[in-house]
Symmetry: C2
Subunit: 697 residues, 2 copies
């Protein structure tokens, strides 16, 4: 009898497929080309293959995922999980077996291949001038002649030594002040926010102090834990946005809020809980590895009831000779500042600001300007007295994340006309220079990042990232991440191909087009030259085989379908239309520089992107990938307070263009879906693409 | 068989005595001279005689009070109490019977005689310039051409109409902003704190808005609910400081904190809970009487989880034609500002600041300067976004309450040398003028207020407030509060005497001295002329009968004992020593004006006070009672922000003198215990007191 099959979807890659009942999740992940670390070879001893079963009805996938849809908890799992994690649905992938439809989240640490296109911090130049600065002073103890207050005593020294005047103090910091001052024998270290407010008093002299910059993406959240003194990024942690279960994109989440009383609070609370985990993880990574499990348990406690860990913990570790430079052993209380960027909807949902009007024409946000909110008000577990600085929004659909890109890239400081493209789940564009800046938002969808495509996957080992298709034979050569040799120079079984990553998708499309497999319209050409083209008997969709099953580690042909091509066309059409309409507004036929932000930009082949007509013609030398520039902006605002002022200035001085109200938007959009573009000239493509292809009608 | 007797103590009057088992609390209160309202004559139908049984061990009284020390709850009581009140120990005085030792608190509303010397607001001059100001603006709705944020839209109008720039907004106010703006059809009323931060957005145009000034005394807490537009005091509410159960005075409470882990939090939380009730009561008093019970229930809900009452409540009442001018029907959410004064220990305990060091030489406070803390951080139930402004402390033992007195009386604005005396549970003195101000604290104890004396009581009907003793016969004539005719012109049974109030105590002592019943040393004279002097057979203490049992409503002689006299001598000695040492510091032999703040000052006979040697010789025309000046100061700071700056200035510019370190303090104190004073000249007493008495050695 044939076994029953269930839909299993792995996040964040969104790889999915029908899996036989009783298959364990490691095996399922292999079948679907998802990488889960399993060092011990499924012997249930390494504990690396931790995954989390998500619960709920996932409309997009049409599945009901539940923790009862996997086999029962096994004793072997106990030692790898805290009771809290168990409650959260964590399992070992080698133990848990499929018993029904499942949405499985693979945490960063369990992903086998390191993500190549990560949200890692770039080395951008930032001048040191943080909002929170640290000062050490020696205080004169009180006497009958001079019995003034503890606070005033510290202020006097801060004014005398550092010229700080009229300081206030956060209540929680004040509560700790008398003890700390006496513990340090009248020597204290004080953290001052914006030269205004004391947010922490520590006993004795301390030099290093810490902050976190967070980029809340619609799909992914990334946190950069920084040493505020050295500006060094200690660690980068990331996770799937926990709101994904309420909707894949911004509009879906706004709708969730409108349809569900209390939905806004739920989404916000889930995100805050996620942020707290991310912050805990960041702190935990500063402990020596052997200590981490213990620490983790404490952090879990700290997240339910924030308490400052007793200093004895640190003393203990020092006695075991842990190098404090290498392992500062931070707790969440050591984080004294936090900056945050995110698009306007993420911003509103996090702050529990009604996002309904952002979703309704003319899409006004509740607020543009940056906010400084006490972390404790938001429920964010960092130091009791610390602020969360949320960068300003430009407009309803161009949020603080785009402002982050702007203050990282600073187009307003240059004469050249720059086009900044930030492609995430939503596309945001800025065009301009030191004279004028305009911005717009375009619904690129997730296809350009390789998500929601038949064989799309994250940029990880086994992902196709480069491809060549012979125009004469339609034969395919390609390269996967994690292997230098192209297929042509490899045995099929050496490839271990799993899918196509975001940047590879464009390569594939560009080659399909250049080689004539697809037409300018995106349709598969009638003039096919290989057996790679076929109509799938199940879906009745035309598809083109990129890798045959024997080259893959998933035992199936990796294909690209007509629907996949359409998805990408819609995305790139939206992007291209945005660029062109913005250029028209500015009276430009050409831009000087194009900067592509987001993971997408990092590995994209610029030529192929141009062939695909992703953005307007430009000297390829002047097209740059700038990584997670939004996160860089958050980090800049963490380490330099001037950047916060700059952010508020730029948010109010970028003119937002609502594209969809342009009278010819629809026509422009239809034309832009062509590969590369029906009407526009692409002089920089001459000599790159065969003339007959480039100029075909 | 004789019935068993138990100690029953009524608060806040501290009247106490042994009461037979099964006596109900109304009867017990009568026997002890405490006034409890009982309109229905103990028929259990009026519900006026509500009292609260306090639980715990009361060290000072040596009793263990418990709710099981009264008879069982009766069905009749159900309709007068909410379940919350029942849990809190509320009972009807006519129902509950004595079954053991009891500490019974009589709430303000159950006290039969209105307190004559109340903490009512005085009519002091205050310029209107509150920290929170209210502005109404019309906002332009967003369009595609101008789709900027809701917040920025309001700010633009506030800047254009009122010149307010660079405003920030409290997060909670921001959360409500989008709906409120649309509810008001783009007309909004905005409350702005210190021209900096928006703390409330209301739909449509509104004129009146409200704040509360609170004086946290060691024993009594008083709240003044003010219309912030008209500056009118709508209502004054007061209660016993709920911390009294942890100790009668400041040092006892500091000790409680040091001896009990978590004691600081407990005391703070109890006070905050008390403040919330006081605020609720204030708001409730703005509702029409017939609606109050219903409102009360809502307020109880609001205190556990602060929610803004739906606007429908107001609409409902308006439809029943309640005059909104007379009954603005406030809820705690309508309170948008709160100022607070209290001595340094009350300040520290409320704010959970470690008070240990305030109690240890050299007594430094944790902080002097004023604090602005979000009410929500403190757990104070007013508007979500409102601040609590806590006035600054002068020194460890001269707190924000004294600063309140100073900004109300403004001695620093005059040439005359003023002596400000604030007598509460602790005495605080300020001496100076526009050139220099010095302050000190003196341990007057509660005796000067009539507390802890054998027949001391609050200034209420039946309390002796004036007395005359014939020097020839030692016969006594007196007057009680609530009756114009003196005893001489009354039948004994008409007097209904109950005890001696604070101001009366001084009168009694002064007359005892002037008539020669006691000597300058405070000892009863050997030369007694009546049978009023006797040695109590039980206590073996000498005592002097002021009112015979048949003149009283308590059926017992009202006496003053040698111990009572000593208590008062200690109090007045501390006060007088403070005054004299301060004058010596300033090089003064005479002051121009004396102002006496606190309930004590309001009804004190100035001449008698001088005879008693309470304060140094002064032209009696220039001795003024200024009522609850500390509360006035809190109100001034509520309604005029300049007063807040003035308070911080004055708190740092009053020089605090620690009296106990003066080398001759002990000698001065011993001398000052004399009546009036052994060595000092009292020219203003010449002709007032018989020369042979005044100049007796």
């Amino acid at each position: 009898m044939e076994k029953k099959k269930y839909m299993v979807i792995f996040q964040p890659s969104a790889r999915r497929g029908l899996i036989e009942e009783d298959t364990n999740l490691i095996e399922a992940s292999r079948q679907l080309g998802v990488d889960i670390e399993a060092l011990c070879g499924e012997k249930k001893v390494c504990g690396k293959c931790k995954v989390r079963i998500e619960e709920g009805f996932f409309e997009k996938f049409g599945i009901q995922s539940s923790r009862s849809n996997v086999s029962e908890w096994q004793e072997e799992e106990d030692k790898f999980f805290t009771p809290v994690q168990k409650d959260e649905g964590y399992r070992l992938g080698c133990v848990a077996k499929v018993k029904g439809d499942l949405l499985v989240f693979v945490p960063e640490e369990a992903r086998a291949g390191k993500q190549v296109v990560s949200k890692a911090a770039r080395d951008i130049h930032i001048d040191w001038n943080p909002a929170v600065k640290q000062y050490s002073v020696e205080v004169v103890p009180p006497t009958f002649e001079e019995p003034s207050g503890d606070f005033e005593r510290i202020c006097r020294e801060l004014e005398r030594n550092f010229g700080l005047r009229d300081l206030t103090i956060d209540w929680h910091a004040l509560r700790k002040l008398p003890r700390r001052q006496r513990e340090g024998n009248w020597s204290v270290t004080v953290d001052v926010w914006m030269d205004k407010e004391i947010v922490r008093v520590l006993p004795a002299k301390t030099e290093d102090y810490y902050g976190i910059a967070i980029d809340v993406g619609t799909t992914t959240v990334a946190a950069y834990l920084c040493n505020m003194r050295t500006m060094e990024v200690l660690t980068t942690t990331s996770m799937m946005n926990p709101q994904c279960k309420y909707g894949e994109d911004v509009m879906a989440r706004i709708t969730y809020h409108m349809m569900n009383p209390g939905g806004l609070e739920t989404m916000s609370n889930d995100l805050v809980e996620g942020l707290n985990k991310l912050i805990s993880q960041g702190c935990e990574s500063t402990h020596p590895p052997k200590k981490r499990k213990k620490k983790k348990a404490e952090d879990v406690d700290a997240s339910t009831e924030p308490v400052e860990l007793p200093d004895t913990t640190k003393a203990e570790e020092e006695s075991e000779e842990v190098d404090p430079k290498k392992y500062p052993c931070l707790t969440t209380n050591d984080i004294v500042d936090l900056t945050l960027v995110g698009n306007t909807a993420m911003h509103h949902i996090l702050l529990k600001l009604d996002p309904e009007f952002v979703g309704l024409a003319p899409f006004p946000p509740v607020i543009h300007r940056s906010l400084d909110i006490k972390a404790r008000d938001l429920g964010v577990n960092i130091n009791d007295s610390a602020y969360v600085h949320i960068l300003p929004n430009e407009a309803g659909f161009v949020g603080a994340d785009n402002v982050g890109v702007l203050i990282a890239e600073e187009p307003y400081k240059h004469d050249q006309m720059q086009l900044l493209i930030d492609i995430g789940t939503n596309g945001e564009l800025v065009l301009g220079n030191n004279k004028k800046l305009i911005s717009c938002s375009c619904a690129t969808g997730p296809a350009l990042e390789g998500a929601q495509l038949s064989y799309g996957m994250r940029a990880a080992p086994g992902a196709i990232e480069r491809i060549l298709i012979d125009p004469e034979t339609h034969e395919v050569d390609y390269k996967v991440i994690g292997r230098d040799a192209w297929k042509k120079y490899s045995k099929p079984e050496e490839m271990k191909t799993k899918g196509i990553c975001g940047s590879g998708i464009l390569d594939v499309l560009a080659e399909l087009y250049s080689s004539g497999v697809i037409e300018k319209s995106g349709r598969f050409s009638k003039n096919q030259k290989s057996n790679r083209y076929r109509v799938n008997p199940d879906t009745r969709q035309p598809e083109f085989v990129i890798a045959w099953a024997n080259e893959t580690s998933i035992g199936k042909d990796v294909v690209i379908t007509q629907k996949d091509v359409r998805q990408i066309q819609l995305g790139k059409g939206a992007l291209y239309t945005g660029c062109k309409l913005m250029m028209r507004r500015m009276g430009l036929s050409q831009v000087d520089t194009i900067k592509i932000a987001g993971a997408f930009g990092t590995h994209v082949d610029k030529t192929k992107a141009l062939i695909m007509g992703l953005f307007p013609d430009c000297d390829l030398e002047m097209v740059h990938a700038v990584g997670n520039a939004a996160g860089d902006g958050a980090r800049a605002a963490l380490l330099n307070r001037e950047k916060r002022a700059e952010a508020n200035w730029v948010a109010r001085n970028v003119e937002y263009i609502e594209l969809t109200v342009e009278s010819d938007f629809q026509q422009q959009f239809m034309e832009a879906m062509q590969v590369p573009h029906m009407k526009d000239a692409f002089p920089h493509l001459e000599g790159v693409v065969p003339p007959e292809v480039l100029h075909q009608k």
